[in-house]
C-alpha cells in the first residue's frame, strides 16, 4: 500500500532515531506501546474501587463510590454506588419491555426500540441512597469519604420524560399515584405521586454517554431527580397508574424514618441539602507539612441548586465561603473549592451547604435533636474531618 508523504507511519519512521537519542530521559518510552483497543480500560496504576464486602446474600446490600478519588461532578458508571435487593438481573433488551396500565385511556407496552422513538433529553442528576451516612446518625462516624457518604453518585442520564409516556397513554382523572416495578428477582416496587411523575422523572436508558450498566438498571430505569435512591427503580418493566399508593414493603416497613416518639415518617422523598469535603479527608495525609492546600468536595440538594458552600477549619466556630465550580445544576453534584493555609496545628474541617430554597445543612447535633438516633434514613449532617499535628487526617479528634 502506497504511503502518503506525511502519514503518521512515515513520521514515526523518521522520528525513530530521535526517540532513540532521547530514550535515556526519565519516563520517555523507547519501545512502541500497547496497541489500539476496542473498549478502553483505565491505567493499571489507577486502583480506585467500590467496596465489596463478604455477605451471606451477595445479591443484596451496597457498595460505596470512592468519592475521595473523584474529580469534577460526574461519577464514572463503573464506580457508581450500588444498592440491590435481589441481585443484578441479566436482561436482553431485545425482549425487554415496559407495561403501562391502570388508570389510563390506552394501556401500552413499550419495547426498548419503541422507547427510543420518543424525544429524549439528557440531564445531570445525583442519586443518593436514603440510607447514606446512616452510621453517622447512629453515632458511628465513618473513617473516609467513601464509607461516610459514598452511597452518592452523579451522572448524565439520557431518557424519555415519564410525562411523555403518561400523556401517550392518556391519564384518567382519578390517577394519583404510579407504582413502578423492576424486573429484578424481588420485583422491587415503589409508589410515586403523579405530580412528580409529570414533573421531571426520566425513563432513562443511558448513563454518561453509553447504555446503562447492568448494576445501574440495564436496559432501562427511572431517574427521579432529587428523591431518595430506592425510588429510582432499576430494570423498569411495569408502571401501574393508581388512585392510591400500593404500600409496598419498601415504602412501609423499609424506607420509613422512625422518630423518638415511636411514629415513623412515610414517603420522605427529597434528599435534603448536604455537602462533604473529599480532600483533605479521613484516611489521607497532609504530605507537604504546613502550607497551602486546596480543600475540595461535593455539595448537592434534592430541592434545587446549591447556592452556597462555607468552610470551617475550627469545627464550626468560623466560616468562609468556598468557590463553586460551574456548572451549578439543579439536583446535581456541585464541586466546591477553597484555598486553605494549614498552620501545622490540629484543625477540624467542615463544609456547610445552603440550597436555593434557603435551607442550611444542619449539624449532627441539630439533626439528632430533631429526629433522634434511630431514624436511619436521610442523614445530611455536616461531616467533620480532624487534621492532626503530624498531618494525618481522620474521622476522630
Amino acid at each position: 500500500m502506497k504511503q502518503p508523504p506525511h502519514s503518521r507511519r512515515r513520521f514515526l519512521a523518521l522520528a525513530a532515531p530521535l526517540v532513540g537519542l532521547t530514550a535515556c530521559k526519565k519516563g520517555v518510552p523507547s519501545e512502541i506501546g500497547a496497541p489500539l483497543s476496542s473498549y478502553g480500560a483505565r491505567s493499571p496504576h489507577v486502583t480506585s474501587l467500590r467496596d465489596v464486602k463478604d455477605s451471606v446474600t451477595p445479591g443484596t446490600g451496597v457498595t460505596h463510590t470512592p468519592l475521595q478519588d473523584l474529580e469534577g461532578i460526574i461519577t464514572p458508571a463503573s464506580l457508581h454506588f450500588e444498592r440491590h435487593h435481589a441481585g443484578v438481573p441479566d436482561i436482553d433488551p431485545a425482549t425487554h419491555d415496559i407495561l403501562l396500565h391502570g388508570l389510563v385511556e390506552r394501556p401500552l407496552i413499550f419495547s426498548m426500540s419503541d422507547l427510543r422513538r420518543f424525544p429524549s433529553v439528557s440531564q445531570i442528576h445525583f442519586i443518593e441512597c436514603s440510607g447514606n451516612s446512616a452510621a453517622e446518625l447512629a453515632g458511628e462516624p465513618q473513617p473516609d469519604p467513601q464509607q461516610s457518604a459514598g452511597l452518592f453518585s452523579c451522572s448524565e442520564w439520557t431518557g424519555v420524560p415519564l410525562a411523555t409516556l403518561l400523556h401517550t397513554a392518556g391519564l384518567k382523572k382519578e390517577a394519583k399515584w404510579i407504582l413502578a416495578e423492576g424486573a429484578d428477582a424481588c420485583l422491587m416496587a415503589r409508589s410515586i405521586p403523579i405530580e412528580k411523575a409529570l414533573d421531571d422523572i426520566l425513563v432513562a436508558y443511558a448513563q454518561n454517554g453509553e447504555p446503562l450498566r447492568p448494576e445501574q438498571g440495564f436496559p432501562v430505569r427511572l431517574v427521579v431527580p432529587g428523591w431518595e435512591g430506592n425510588i429510582n427503580v432499576k430494570w423498569l418493566h411495569r408502571l401501574h397508574v393508581l388512585d392510591q399508593p400500593s404500600m409496598t414493603r419498601d415504602e412501609t416497613s423499609h424506607y420509613t424514618d422512625l422518630m423518638p416518639d415511636g411514629t415513623a415518617r412515610i414517603f420522605t422523598f427529597p434528599m435534603e441539602a448536604k455537602s462533604m469535603i473529599t480532600r483533605p479527608a479521613g484516611g489521607q495525609k497532609m504530605d507537604y507539612g504546613p502550607g497551602a492546600y486546596e480543600i475540595t468536595g461535593l455539595a448537592w440538594s434534592g430541592r434545587g441548586k446549591v447556592q452556597r458552600v462555607e468552610i470551617s477549619s475550627d469545627g464550626g466556630a468560623n466560616w468562609k465561603d468556598a468557590s463553586l465550580q460551574l456548572p451549578i445544576l439543579s439536583k446535581a453534584a456541585t464541586r466546591f473549592r477553597f484555598e486553605w493555609r494549614w498552620d501545622g496545628q490540629p484543625a477540624a474541617l467542615q463544609s456547610r451547604c445552603t440550597d436555593e430554597t434557603g435551607y442550611v445543612q444542619p449539624s449532627l447535633d441539630e439533626l439528632v435533636e430533631a429526629r433522634g438516633r434511630f431514624s436511619y434514613y436521610h442523614c445530611n449532617a455536616i461531616k467533620t474531618w480532624f487534621v492532626h499535628q503530624d498531618g494525618s487526617v481522620s474521622h476522630v479528634a
Binding site: T57, L99, L100, H101, G102, R106, P107, L108, I109, F110, S111, D114, R117, F118, H167, T168, L179, E181, A185, C186, L187, M188, A189, R238, H240, L242, Q244, S246, M247, T248, R249, T252, S253, T256, L258, M259, P260, D261, G262, T263, A264, R265, I266, F267, T268, F269, P270, E272, W319, R352, T357, V360, Q361, P362, S363, E366, L367, A370, R371, F374
Partner: protein, 172 residues
C-alpha cells in the same frame, strides 16, 4: 382556516411514537399490584396450621424458629412490639408493618429470597397467616383469604405520619 392547517401538525407530534396496545391477558399476566383494600389479591386461602409446614420448609432457615431472624443477616419477622420508642427499636411485621396486604404482597413477589414466586397462592396465604400468628395477630386456625386478609388490623396501623420536612433549623 389557519386552525385546520395547524391541527394536523399537532396530531403528528403526539402520535409519531406510541408503543403498542397491551391486551387484557398481557396485563393480567404481569399485574402483581396489591392494594391495602385488597384489590389485586388472588383467590386463595390458608391458616397458620398449614402455614407452619410451609414456614418450616421455606422460611425457618433464615428467619428462625419463632421469626426472630439472624442479627445482621436476616430480618426478624416477629417480636419487638412496644420497642419503637426505646433505644433498641425492633421493626418487625408485628411491631411495625402497617398493612397485612403488604406482608402478602412481599411474600408473593419476593420470597423465599432464593426462589421468589415459587410458592402457590394458598401457600402464600398460609405462611402470611403463620407470620401473623407468630406475632399474636391472628389465631392458629383463623382462615385468611382475599376477603379476610385486608381486614386484619395491624398493631402499628396508625404509626405512620406524613413527611414534615424541612424540620431541622440550623442555628447558624
Amino acid at each position: 382556516m389557519w386552525r385546520s392547517a395547524i391541527l394536523p401538525i399537532c396530531v403528528c407530534a403526539i402520535a409519531f411514537a406510541q408503543g403498542r396496545p397491551a391486551t387484557e391477558a398481557e396485563i393480567k399476566a404481569r399485574d402483581f399490584t396489591i392494594l391495602p383494600n385488597g384489590t389485586g389479591l388472588p383467590k386463595g386461602h390458608g391458616d397458620a396450621v398449614s402455614g407452619r409446614t410451609v414456614y418450616e420448609q421455606k422460611c425457618q432457615d433464615c428467619h428462625g424458629l419463632h421469626g426472630e431472624g439472624q442479627s445482621g443477616k436476616y430480618p426478624a419477622l416477629a417480636g419487638g412490639v412496644g420497642s419503637l420508642k426505646s433505644v433498641n427499636p425492633i421493626k418487625t411485621v408485628g411491631s411495625y408493618w402497617p398493612y397485612a396486604t403488604t406482608l402478602f404482597d412481599y411474600i408473593h413477589r419476593a420470597m423465599p429470597y432464593d426462589h421468589p414466586r415459587s410458592l402457590s397462592t394458598d401457600d402464600v396465604y398460609s405462611v402470611a397467616a403463620y407470620v401473623l400468628f407468630l406475632n399474636g395477630i391472628v389465631t392458629e386456625s383463623q382462615e385468611l383469604n382475599e376477603k379476610t386478609l385486608p381486614q386484619v388490623k395491624m398493631p402499628n396501623r396508625n404509626g405512620f405520619v406524613a413527611d414534615p420536612r424541612p424540620d431541622v433549623k440550623s442555628k447558624k
